[in-house]
């Protein structure tokens, strides 16, 4: 049986998904990246290998996320795709006819507008990370509430308080202030959910025509409080797909399937890459005033890839060796 692997290495989490030819999810892994993308991919592969159905063969692999290029080298990707396209593709697979994708990840948030199955507009947060997973994590930890229960608590609120959600630091000050004057914790959490949704819609969602069906994905979609806040603000139903955590990886796996269909064979290095010893090193090129930071990726001492130079002079490995 041919299966396809999708790998999404983001700032906070690394997700891997295995799908079959009919795009059904066979297995997935969700791990923290912890600033070590290569190790996270290797660990994820090790875990995923144990979940491989018997007789399954990986016939294609795609990578996405902010470390997509790096992950692509490590696993031998057939396609390396940006996370906006990967998320849009996945949403279209799971909810056919989707017109709006809301995605809240670890440190980024995006909105994707589709019409007739085609992306027509998108936006990604630029200067502000308020409202993303990292901030919610931090607040949950500060309040001593497991992040899993954060959303359910918000739903119990009777009178959500108003929190200034424009900036995550000021939001925190405001929350502390609301705690100090005695508001119940549920009301503060619900207020925070409202504030984050408001900030998202005013920033990332500014000027976008949000039409149903709306799909909400990314790590934060697990938070029922945020989902409820979206439904309240948008006055429409918001779908959270079952594999909302790993939608980027799902999109990458699907794209790998079409890439392999076009080129014939996969470049997948095999699950054994989890035991390989990859090394990365960097140096500053002093060839011109651009001072590019060049990254080397090597496997057991052999250079696999190198990037980062503007002029491309370091990227032709044969010439260098």
């Amino acid at each position: 049986m041919d299966v396809y692997l999708g790998v999404d290495v983001g700032s906070v989490s690394t997700n891997l998904v295995l799908i079959d030819r009919d795009n059904r999810v066979l297995a997935f892994e969700y791990l923290r990246t912890r600033g070590q993308p290569i190790q996270a991919v290797q660990e994820g592969l090790k875990l995923l290998e144990q979940k491989m159905p018997s007789g399954a063969v990986v016939a294609g692999v795609g990578t996405t996320g902010s470390a997509r290029t790096l992950a692509g080298v490590v696993v031998g990707a057939d396609t390396v795709k940006n996370e906006i396209t990967a998320h849009a593709v996945a949403a279209g697979l799971v909810v056919p006819g989707v017109q709006t994708v809301l995605e809240l990840g670890g440190q980024d948030s995006k909105i994707i507008i589709l019409r007739h199955g085609v992306v027509i507009d998108f936006a990604m947060n630029t200067i502000c990370a308020a409202g993303t997973g990292s901030f919610l994590d931090h607040q949950a930890a500060r309040l001593g509430i497991p992040i899993e229960e954060f959303g359910t608590l918000a739903l119990r609120a009777r009178n959500p308080v108003h929190i200034a959600g424009r900036c995550s630091v000021f939001a925190e000050s405001d929350m502390i202030h609301k705690q100090q004057i005695g508001h119940p914790i549920e009301d503060i959490i619900a207020g925070l959910c409202d504030a984050l949704v408001r900030n998202y819609l005013n920033n990332v969602g500014k000027g976008k025509e949000i039409l149903p069906p709306v799909v909400f994905q990314g790590g934060v979609a697990a938070n029922v409080g945020i989902k409820a806040a979206f439904e309240k603000a948008l006055q429409m139903e918001v779908h959270v797909p079952p594999h909302h955590l790993v939608m980027g990886a799902l999109g990458a796996a699907y794209l790998a399937q079409s890439a392999v269909a076009k080129k014939g064979a996969t470049n997948f290095r095999g699950f054994s890459v989890s035991d390989f010893d990859y090394q990365t090193s960097t140096f500053e090129c002093k060839g011109c005033p651009n001072i590019c930071e060049i990254v080397n990726i090597s496997l057991d001492g052999t250079l696999l890839a190198r990037w980062g130079s503007r002029c491309g002079k370091w990227e032709h490995l044969e010439e260098q060796q």
Partner: protein, 368 residues
């Protein structure tokens, strides 16, 4: 005079030629680097826009290399860029430098002022000599624009990634060395031939994207994270709404600005709001009418004219059926973020094009 000035794309070598012709010693600015920006950001007000910071950094580098005079194009309101020369001068004086600062205002707005400044720069050269120098400079500029246009066409079609950029750089050195009018013409043709020889894939079918927005971030590749090259390597043929020769004709010499984009903008924004705000509105419409696949609006973070233009983009994009990606740029902008957005934007345009073609095919199919 030892004259330093801001670096803005290919204009840099043209200013160098002009100053040399007039008997000055130009302190030719280097291409801006991260250090230039860091230097500018350190001494600029935090909320000044990125062109201000890069140019300030460049001035400081020129002064360190011995410039005693700084030359700048002045602006006029309502965009705050009109005040930038003055603010730059004050910051530099506060830092203990004391350069003579020369701002050239657009000739038709402040004719006397312009005349005085030009006379100062002209020095003891005759007016005839000045006219000849301008003719040389203009010829060089025209070739540089042609080179940029040709490289924009070639890049998405090149067989070897980077070949066009390399040929372009070689062409720049030819033109840089050329000083007499004959040499300039010869070098210009050689540079164009160099680009012409870049092998291309005849079957390539690139998307077409118009780049619009504020002039400095359009023209200085460092400021826009080399967007022309990035898009070119993603298989996109780009055109900018501003090329120096057309800009000089329309924006510097005429007080009315670029007529075509201005009249297109009229129904939506009926007055100049400073900078290139009104142009951006008209340019989107023009590119849509020309059948482009998309538009990228480049804007320095906190640039009011471009913010006003941006607020019209969702409406114009829908009405004229053209995707628009707005990129706000400041010193915090990371190249990865820009790359991700551009890649996604290219995917979006490709999908749209495939869908439109499919639709057209189906229609002709059913007609038969």
């Amino acid at each position: 005079m030892k004259i330093g000035y801001g670096h803005m794309g290919t204009l840099t070598m043209v200013v160098e030629l002009l100053l040399e012709e007039l008997g000055h010693e130009p302190v030719v600015p280097h291409r801006p680097t991260r250090q230039t920006l860091a230097l500018g950001a350190k001494y600029a007000p935090e909320f000044a826009c990125i062109p201000f910071k890069i140019v300030l950094g460049t001035y400081l580098e020129c002064l360190e290399r011995g410039a005693d005079t700084l030359l700048s194009g002045g602006g006029y309101g309502p965009c705050r860029a009109g005040m930038y020369g003055e603010v730059h001068g004050r910051i530099l004086r506060d830092l203990g430098y004391n350069p003579q600062v020369i701002f050239l205002f657009p000739p038709l707005i402040k004719p006397y002022h312009f005349f005085k400044k030009v006379s100062l720069l002209k020095g003891r050269c005759s007016w005839f000599h000045l006219a000849r120098a301008i003719r040389k400079a203009w010829t060089k500029l025209t070739f540089l624009d042609q080179m940029e246009l040709l490289s924009q066409t070639k890049r998405p079609r090149e067989l070897t990634r980077g070949a066009t950029s390399k040929a372009f750089e070689r062409g720049l050195t030819y033109l840089h060395q050329a000083k007499s009018l004959n040499e300039i013409i010869e070098a210009g043709h050689a540079a164009l031939a160099e680009l012409d020889q870049v092998p291309v894939d005849p079957a390539a079918d690139p998307l077409k994207v118009g780049i619009i927005g504020e002039i400095y971030v359009q023209l200085e590749p460092f400021a826009n994270h080399y967007i022309e090259e990035t898009l070119g390597h993603l298989g996109v043929e780009v055109r900018r709404s501003i090329y120096l020769t057309s800009y000089t004709r329309h924006d510097v010499l005429s007080t009315k600005g670029d007529m075509s984009s201005r009249s297109l903008a009229m129904p939506y924004l009926n007055q100049k709001i400073g900078g290139h705000g009104q142009n951006s509105v008209g340019d989107v419409i023009r590119y849509a009418k020309l059948g482009y696949n998309g538009v990228v609006q480049l804007a320095p973070f906190s640039c009011i004219p471009e913010i006003v233009a941006k607020s019209l983009m969702p409406y114009l994009s829908k009405k004229y059926g053209i995707p628009v990606l707005t990129l706000f740029i400041d010193e915090q902008t990371g190249p990865t973020g820009i790359q991700t957005r551009l890649e996604a934007f290219v995917d979006l345009m490709e999908q749209r094009r495939a869908q439109t073609r499919e639709g057209a095919r189906m229609q002709t199919g059913s007609a038969v």
